[in-house]
Symmetry: C2
Subunit: 133 residues, 2 copies
Amino acid sequence: MNSQPHDAEQRAELRPDAEAAVARARFDERGLLPAIIQEEGTEQVLMLGWMDAEAMRRTLTEGRVTFWSRSRQEYWRKGDTSGHAQYVRGAALDCDGDTLLVRVHQVGAACHTGAHACFDVDPLTPALGGEGA
Amino acid sequence: MNSQPHDAEQRAELRPDAEAAVARARFDERGLLPAIIQEEGTEQVLMLGWMDAEAMRRTLTEGRVTFWSRSRQEYWRKGDTSGHAQYVRGAALDCDGDTLLVRVHQVGAACHTGAHACFDVDPLTPALGGEGA
């Protein structure tokens, strides 16, 4: 009678495309891949986090971004502590399947420093190149 | 009499800001950090590559993006073989210094498949989230 998925197994049955994506993703020797988080609309790159297969599965099936915290060795659903959730609006694997791009609607600041994006914190001043530069 | 930098040492002397950025970057246990490449203008995320300290130094000082190829174990200046150069237009480290974002002017296709971006190749169909979704 309950048509809502209520555990990971049921979600997997309901989303074979997510399971197939996790299966063809190439995780590194630690079992992780980098996930780039980009904000829908502004197109700003907000942060990079790490996912194992289960974090990727949850991200693709729950509508919220989940990372694997390398320092805390635990799953970390963005926003559960801070309220600054990342709602999934799209995703893609790259050409060799070892990086995930997730497009999100970001609630509040993505960065733990309070900056909107983690890349707002430390801008560099590289030598600029260009055709003819 | 020659005011142009012609080796890495001279470039480093001329760009102490680049050396300081390399010094505060946090490379992983392999001596690498992920570098996200974003296209100026379109704001599209083109690809993710890996840099060691020297690849980061070259990227910040030469106006062209250089990666460390994990598979070939060599430096790889994007475009030297393909002609599809990435000219540096900006860069930032993230809040904990372990990821680099490089904004570029991309000549031609960024992806070896011929796609403009590596993330154009394998779009996924995640469950979408949103406030109220």
